[in-house]
């Protein structure tokens, strides 16, 4: 099984989730993160002082999928999350050794 981590722009979350649902991915875990990259932050003001916010709000999606689904999942995310502008984010793929579903104790591919 593979773990796909995608860092995307916050307002793309709904689109990506819907696109993944269409290809049958219904399990995922999402968190709010801050990203630092080529995309430059915006400036904020504090009582007449301007400062640059270099961490930008991003959404990290994590989902573990069977190896067979990997390519489809990655492509789906890329398509749904792309705006073509800098800061669209990245996808990281890594290996997962084992999955356990807490409720049932099922493991591995049945637990996805």
């Amino acid at each position: 099984m593979k773990k796909v981590e995608a860092v995307i722009k916050p307002f793309k979350l709904e689109d990506v989730k819907d696109a993944l649902a269409e290809i049958g991915i219904t399990g995922m875990t999402v968190s709010e993160v801050k990203g630092y990259g080529r995309q430059k932050g915006h400036s904020e003001l504090y009582r007449g002082a301007e400062y640059v916010v270099d961490f930008l709000p991003k959404i990290k999606m994590e989902m573990v999928v069977g190896a067979d689904m990997l390519e489809q999942v990655v492509n789906t995310i890329v398509e749904a999350a792309r705006t073509g502008k800098i800061g669209d984010g990245k996808i990281f793929v890594s290996d997962i050794e084992k999955i356990i579903r807490i409720r049932t104790g099922e493991t591995d591919i049945e637990a996805v």
Binding site: E44, L45, R47, G48, Y51
Partner: protein
């Protein structure tokens, strides 16, 4: 007969003011006092608390709440006596409100109400000064400082301006405390900020305010309370109070406009923190003038107050090395000076004294400003050193500063989601 009576009823209350309680004036002053009370543990607490970083928000709020509690106690113990007791340089004879009963009058209102009204001024003055010290002053040091400062700095200055002292009263026009409260507090804050030194990460880290929502709410409550502050300083519900109310409102509005307009021109941003700060600057500016300025004066005083505030905190401030964290000096002190000068400049036709001389009035204004700066600076420093000594140093240690005082001193967090 009827005619006669009506004429009588319409007579200015001045003549017999000392003799009779007016339920109308008393009603207004009960409310005005409540309004000014709200300014400290709610208005200023939120305004300052919202401007502070989240790790020190509660500490900042606690300083306002604590200042109000301690200030109220000290005021009835000795503050009122020093400020409004008999005497030239210093008042005496009213310790613990001795001799005052529920029948005692102060003009047309009960003296006990006058005590309460003036006490709210003392408390907010020292709470304003706390804005310069936040994120590093020890809570215990500040609380002791607050008590001492009201006794040694605030009460005497009030006595000279309003309490009947003559030698040190230069005839300054200061209707509601531009010099007594705001300049005084601004100077005090600045001096303590100098003594404390800068926050370790001042000028390095981006300082994000906990919440501009609270800042605006705090400013709105300050604005609301300021009607009690300014129109209440007439100590009667009459035409002058009405005029003070109106010009207060107008100057605050123009303060918002002045600050945000400049910000927009320079940064292409219209911040809420700026709008709220502008309102406060406009209110500070009109305070001494609120009993005498007309609507045109208020427009100018407020607009310049807001613009000056912006310019002070965004440019002028950076030429100094002092970390006046929430700009108590720049907004209350500097803008307070502007207000005092403007008071002499912009007087409504209907409020213009017959024998008015701008030149000598300006001298009076500057004399009072000068005295306040010198006295407040020196005695604030002394008082702060005492408070520091009593609490083993006035500044928290480095770890406390970096973790924030909410967690370390108060054992709490501003918000637990």
């Amino acid at each position: 007969m009827k005619r006669l009576l009506l004429v009588l009823l319409a007579l200015p209350t001045l003549v017999f003011a000392e003799d009779t309680l007016s339920s109308g004036d008393t009603a207004w002053m009960l409310v005005a006092t409540a309004f000014v009370m709200l300014m400290t543990p709610a208005g200023l607490a939120l305004f300052y608390g919202g401007l502070t970083r989240s790790k020190n928000t509660l500490n900042t709020i606690g300083m306002s709440l604590g200042a109000y509690a301690v200030g109220t106690l000290v005021w009835v113990l000795v503050g009122y006596s020093i400020a409004f007791g008999d005497g030239d340089i210093i008042g005496t004879g009213k310790v613990l409100l001795s001799g005052i009963t529920s029948e005692s009058l102060s003009g047309t209102i009960p003296e006990l109400l006058f005590v309460a009204f003036q006490g709210t001024f003392a408390a907010i003055a020292v709470a304003i000064a706390s804005g310069s010290m936040i994120e590093r002053v020890k809570f215990s040091t500040y609380m002791i400082f607050a008590a001492l400062w009201i006794v040694a700095v605030y009460a005497p200055i009030t006595h000279w301006a309003w309490g009947g002292g003559e030698t040190l009263n230069f005839g300054e026009m200061d209707f509601a405390g531009g010099t007594v409260v705001h300049l005084n507090a601004g100077i005090a804050g600045f001096v303590v900020a100098m003594i404390l030194g800068r926050r370790k990460d001042y000028g390095k880290a981006a300082i994000k305010p906990f919440s501009p929502v609270l800042v605006v709410l705090g400013a709105a409550l300050l604005w609301f309370g300021w009607f009690g502050f300014n129109a209440g300083s007439e100590v009667a519900a009459d035409g002058v109070a009405a005029s003070a109310f109106l010009v207060t409102n107008v100057a605050a509005a123009l303060g918002v406009i002045g600050w945000v307009a400049l910000e927009w021109l320079i940064y292409k941003k219209a911040t809420l923190v700026g709008g709220a700060s502008g309102a406060v600057a406009g209110l500070v500016a009109i305070t001494p003038a609120s009993g005498s300025a007309g609507v045109e004066g208020a427009i100018i005083i407020g607009f310049i107050g807001g613009a000056l505030g912006f310019w002070a905190v965004s440019k002028l401030k950076h030429m100094f090395k002092v970390d006046d964290s929430l700009d108590a000096f720049w907004i209350h002190g500097l803008v307070g000076i502007w207000g005092s000068i403007a008071t002499a400049l912009f007087i409504a036709d209907y409020a213009m004294p017959e024998d008015y001389s701008l030149g000598s009035q300006l001298v009076a204004q500057f004399s009072a400003i000068g005295l306040t700066i010198v006295y407040s600076a020196i005695v604030t420093a002394i008082v702060f050193y005492i408070a520091s000594a009593l609490t083993g140093g006035g500044r928290v240690d480095d770890e406390t500063e970096s973790r924030g005082l909410d967690e370390t001193t108060h054992g709490e967090k501003a918000i637990n989601l």
